[in-house]
Every structure is written in structure tokens, then in C-alpha cells.
Symmetry: C2
Subunit: 128 residues, 2 copies
DNA sequence: AGTTGACTTGGAGTTAACTCCAGAGCGTAC
DNA sequence: GTACGCTCTGGAGTTAACTCCAAGTCAACT
């Protein structure tokens, strides 16, 4: 699978895919005889995983660390688990904060609705 | 209220407070006779609101727009409401994505737990 | 043989959101 | 009256995460 197809499939620019590989955010992709990247299924799974984690805001640095640990093999299983737990907890914290803000926004919107409603009523009264 | 106190109260650096004011993320704060910022209750409410919204990831640009609309007065009530609705929807979308990622992380962590459990079991067997 | 189009690399540029700094003003403490 | 501490302004620097670019390679057409 060439880079163009992967780019289309996961909606990541070719530049981003090359960048991710360069910084070790995904393991190195093999090149074919012409020197072009030839993504395996495995590579694609990494791309998908990283895209997913980045989408939730996990930092690039942390994900690089995860990939590094992964490449070190079975000895790092515990460390990888701990890393994921740390990220999971932070994610949860952020979600909780966002939930509070969501409620606050809903409140504020409801109040704006009231304001507008009141104004319309005033106009109606003026009309009649 | 001087900037130091506001900085302490909301855990925002003085530089950040000045920066927010400079770019219009909070309305201009009055200066006392010596030229120092003297935050009113109103100013503090803005600081708190902006800090809260930024904490949930609402973009600075959008919040500046909101403040601008606010300063234009009652004529912009509807526009402000629409702006908030837009941000609310985006926030919700991001939260949903994060929720999916959270579940995926939990899954992955559970699988790591199994892996580690299995390894321990193997060690036990070897011991006996 | 030459042009086209996709891809390569290394490196520079961009964007958002701060963060830091130099030089100066003001008010109190010695 | 000068040293100290707090704050001021305008502008430069930083960080994270891309994004863009120039120069070159390679295979496939024409």
C-alpha cells in the first residue's frame, strides 16, 4: 500500500504520515525496490491507532514513548500498561472538565433563549 | 484588585492575564492613578469565564469574537447565542470521540492486565 | 529520449497560545 | 534620596504539532 492510499484511507496528509514516521510516532515503514513506502497491514494498524489517540488529544511525545516501549518487546508490557493508565486517567479528567463546561454552556444558551423570548414578546405587545 | 491577586486567585500567570487583555480575550481593565491594572468584580468574572472555557479547549479566536459581540451590546444577543451553540456542539463531538478512545484504552489496559496475569501464572507453575 | 506524475529526503516555515524579557514608572521603607 | 518591590509596555522567544518546499529519483507513457 503506497502512501497516497493510506493518506486517503485515514484522512491524514502524506506530510503528516511521513512526519509521524520521522519522529517515531509510528514504526519505520519498509520501502519497495523504488524506495517508496510500502505500508503493510501492521503499519496501517499503527496509523489508525495513532490517529485515534491523537484525535483524543494524547500528546505526540507520550505516544512516541509508547511506540518505543512496544518495540522493546515483552519486557515493557508493564510499563506500557502504566503509560496507558496514566493517559486514560488524564483523558477522564479532561472529559469531566469538559462536561462541566458543556453544562455551563447549555445554561448560558438557555438564558440567551429566554432573553430573546422576552424581546419577542415585547415586540408582540407593541404590535397589538 | 491588583494583577497579583487575580493571578493567584485564578491560577493564571500575570503574563497570561496581560496577554488575554491585549488580544481582547477579556475586556480592557481600568488602571488606577499609578497606571496599574485594578480588576473589578466584573473583570474577575470575565477572567473566570475565559479560564473555564479555555480549559475545555474553546479556541482563543472564538472567545475573542464572543467578547467583541458582548461589547456591542443587546443587538448581538442572537449572534452570541449562535456562537455558543456552535461551540457547545463541537465540544460535544470532541467528548464523544474522547469517550470512544477512553473505552478503547480501557480495553487495551484490560488486555495488558491479562497478559501480565498469564505471565505471573507461568512463573508460578515454574516455581512449583 | 523526453515529459509526466507520484514519491523521496532534509530542512525551513507556520499556527496557536502562551511565556519571557528589557527598560521604565511609581510608591513605600530605610 | 535612594533602594526595593510591584507593575507597566512593546516586542521577542518558545513549544507543540504539523505543513510546505526544493531538489532529486524512479517508473510509465508518447
Amino acid at each position: 500500500m503506497l502512501i497516497a492510499e493510506v493518506s486517503d484511507k485515514y484522512d491524514l496528509s502524506q506530510d503528516t504520515l511521513r512526519y509521524y514516521e520521522r519522529i517515531g510516532l509510528i514504526p519505520r515503514v519498509n520501502r519497495n525496490k523504488s524506495g517508496l513506502r510500502d505500508y503493510t497491514e501492521e503499519d496501517c494498524k499503527w496509523v489508525e491507532f495513532i490517529k485515534c489517540m491523537r484525535g483524543a488529544g494524547l500528546p505526540v511525545e507520550t505516544l512516541i514513548e509508547y511506540v518505543k516501549l512496544f518495540q522493546l518487546g515483552d519486557a515493557t508490557v508493564a510499563a506500557r500498561k502504566e503509560l496507558l493508565i496514566g493517559q486514560r486517567d488524564q483523558l477522564l479528567t479532561r472529559m469531566e472538565e469538559m462536561k462541566r463546561v458543556l453544562e455551563r454552556l447549555d445554561d448560558k444558551i438557555a438564558r440567551y433563549e429566554q432573553t430573546i423570548g422576552a424581546k419577542e414578546k415585547a415586540l408582540m405587545a407593541h404590535d397589538s
